[in-house]
């Protein structure tokens, strides 16, 4: 009995020494700190920028309706580009209230050209309240893109485009209102909840699950929906449909997440570095192709697809595995009505 007890004591002592040595040497993972920094440095600023740029968009389009001109149309289009870039940067971190509210349906559900044309041609009111009751594909940034850049958009610079302009103003006002709500909810406690602070805090596990699942959904949409060699052109006829700026902005946000002090801090260093490097390579591949999306089935398109797909695989496998995340849900829950 004494031998067993002795062995037990030696084992406990060895375990304690091992822990002490390791504790002194550091090297542990602080997931809560990683989540806190991610929320404060990426999630909150991304939503603030989205709220600011969409508010500017709404103002510029409203001004365009009040005083139609080429110059004001240009300003409205520039504001749209800024807002679209902000939304793209926010999309990989559309967690917390954005997820709870299924904000994708309000912000940038893919435009449904038929519904947009129908509303333009009809005599239904195009006030914000009326547009809010239409299907998601007839409002949001994607529909606004169609209105500002699509066929017939030049009429916006003249009085002839009055209905189209009011429709665009209403759609952008709704987007701005939703973005503003997200920013306010984050400021009023949702950010603390996500970051694990306060009385109704999420666990770091829960927050990391949301963050990684959102990235994966974003990457799936990007890779399969936009960059796949056989993917057709998106509706919109504007810079988002033809360009790579939004893709670049999405990936840039993801790369920022894998900084050592942010979500990357919850990963072992080699995994963090390799995931981040793969995402940065994808960003570089997008940079190398200018702002134009290479045509379907072209070798350039295939290269672009492969580079971004590698980033997706790195997140879906290496990051998911190291963070012990369960990929469960899809954000494909908006109103497609």
């Amino acid at each position: 009995m004494s031998g067993v007890a002795m062995t037990g004591r030696v084992g406990v002592a060895a375990f304690a020494v091992a822990l002490l040595v390791t504790a002194c040497g550091g090297g542990g993972v602080d997931r809560a700190a990683a989540v806190g920094a991610t929320v404060d440095e990426v999630v909150v600023p991304a939503h603030a920028r989205l709220a600011d740029t969409t508010a500017t968009l709404a103002e510029e389009v409203t001004s365009l309706c009040a005083q139609p001109s080429e110059e004001q149309l240009g300003a409205a289009r520039d504001a749209w580009r800024e807002a679209a870039a902000a939304r793209a940067a926010e999309r990989p971190v559309a967690v917390g209230p954005a997820m709870d509210r299924s904000s994708k349906a309000e912000l940038d559900w893919q435009a449904d050209p038929e519904r947009v044309d129908e509303l333009l041609a009809g005599d239904r009111p195009v006030t914000p309240d009326a547009v809010a009751t239409t299907a998601s594909g007839a409002r949001g940034l994607s529909a606004t893109e169609l209105l500002l850049f699509g066929d017939g958009a030049d009429a916006l610079a003249t009085a002839e485009g009055e209905r189209r302009c009011r429709y665009a103003a209403s759609a952008s006002t709704l987007v701005a209102a939703e973005a503003s709500r997200l920013r306010d909810e984050l400021a009023e406690g949702a950010a603390d909840t996500l970051a694990g602070r306060g009385g109704v805090a999420m666990t770091a596990d829960g927050a990391i699950d949301e963050l990684v699942n959102t990235q994966v959904n974003t990457l799936d949409d990007l890779v399969d929906g936009r960059l796949a060699p056989d993917a057709g052109a998106e509706p919109g006829g504007g810079p988002a449909a033809a360009g790579l700026a939004t893709a670049r902005a999405q990936l840039a946000t993801m790369a920022a997440l894998y900084e050592p002090q942010r979500l990357g801090g919850a990963l072992p260093e080699p995994t963090r570095d390799s995931v981040r490097a793969t995402i940065e390579e994808a960003v570089a591949a997008l940079d190398g192709d200018g702002d134009g999306l290479p045509t379907s089935e072209s070798p350039e398109r295939a290269e672009l697809y492969a580079a971004v797909d590698r980033a997706r695989v790195a997140v879906r496998t290496d990051a998911v595995s190291a963070l012990d995340v369960v990929l469960t849900f899809s954000d494909n829950d908006g109103d497609s009505g």
């Binding site: 822990l19 390791t22 399969d224 790195a314 595995s321």
Partner: protein, 461 residues
Amino acid sequence: MIGRPPRAPDAAGAPAVRLQVAAGRLVPGESLAVVRIVVGAVAVLSAARLLARGWVAQLWSEPALLLGWPQVGVPVLPNAGLVAVVVVVGLAGVAVAVGLAPRTAAGIFLLAFGYLELLDRTTYLNHYWALTLLAALLVVLPTDGTWSLAARRRAGVPAWAVWLVRTQVAIVYVGAAIAKLDPDWLLRGQPLGMWLAARSDLAVVGPLIGLPAVGLVASWAGLAFDLTIVGWVWWRRTRILALVAALAFHGVTWALFPRIGVFPLLMVGLITVWMPPDWPSALRRRLRRNVGGAPVPAGPVRAGLVSPVHVRRRVPILAVLWIVAGLALPLRHLAIGGDVRWTEEGGRFAWRVMAEEKVGWATLAVTDPATGVTDRVALTDVLTDNQAHVAATSPDLLYQVAGELADRRAATAGTRPEVRVDARVSWNGRPNAPLVDPDVDLAAEPWRRGRHQPWILEPPP
């Protein structure tokens, strides 16, 4: 099973006969009754979870493609039928637990549960397999003599029955230990280190378990536990400590890794079979004594009032076959070749409990040979998330998906396409690596039964 009286004393000196007599000796049936109750309770719990969480539809009705066992075609019932089967599982579990025709109930459970298990290989879990094996034993073992509605009077069980269940439980534990005898577990402390680090936000213990050395220490501790726990529970001097350790171990694993489901509950119940066959009565007597109550008399079996019985000749043969099969099945990967940790060949029915962390992602390139046009299909386009999670890291399931996809396209388009799979897997924290040869048309590959599939690529270093 309890048959003729023992042979004449002059033959009792031979070792084989002594063993036969010892195996046939009646012992109290309480420890086996506990096993019966635990198996029944876990069956009920499993059925309740399946129903309460809507898993019946999620696992078997909603998937567009079920990855059943290729050699065992079972019809897929409509959802109502599947729910009925799960209800049967639960009711049979109740009957097993309370001892209402427990052998028949165990047989019904075995059929119903086995049917569900055969529907889709992605639902395979080691504890389901353990439950299946124990249910099979309950069909043949006389566990209905104790704490059973079927028992007219308390009856003992032959010692061989207790030892057969003990051996089965030991195979699970030791098999789980053997599965962990690899450099990742022993030298890198993986995957446990990753899993513990992922729980570093837990209160109190969080900062501690996130430390890298804890993963390594915990890996060795877990291995030592699996390898030796049955011995510690068996040995009287260490029994109490070992039981506390078992409770703590399974409690901690359940708290840290809730996804392992009812496995800890099952094992905590089963490990008790390594205690003396009358342990519940002994515990009750001790408790009574400690609180000053009236002593509980030892039952007739405990008092040795029953005769030793002879064991029928076929019993030891069947028991040995059962044990040999139980030992051989987890080790069959050695005959197949390749690294089972990566290839998964011989990985099922092998007690590889939490031995690896693998996360994969696969896309299938479906090419029409006539036109050369290739469609890319994500695994999640044809499987549910749960199925895809398992299939992406299992070459045999990827092979099956490729074949099914080709068959379906051939049925609709008239031409059987080529299907190549680009599967990348992150294994125990390594950067993702290709699992199968992306240049091989898996839809045209023959399945080499019992042999290593050459299109599975080498594991990353």
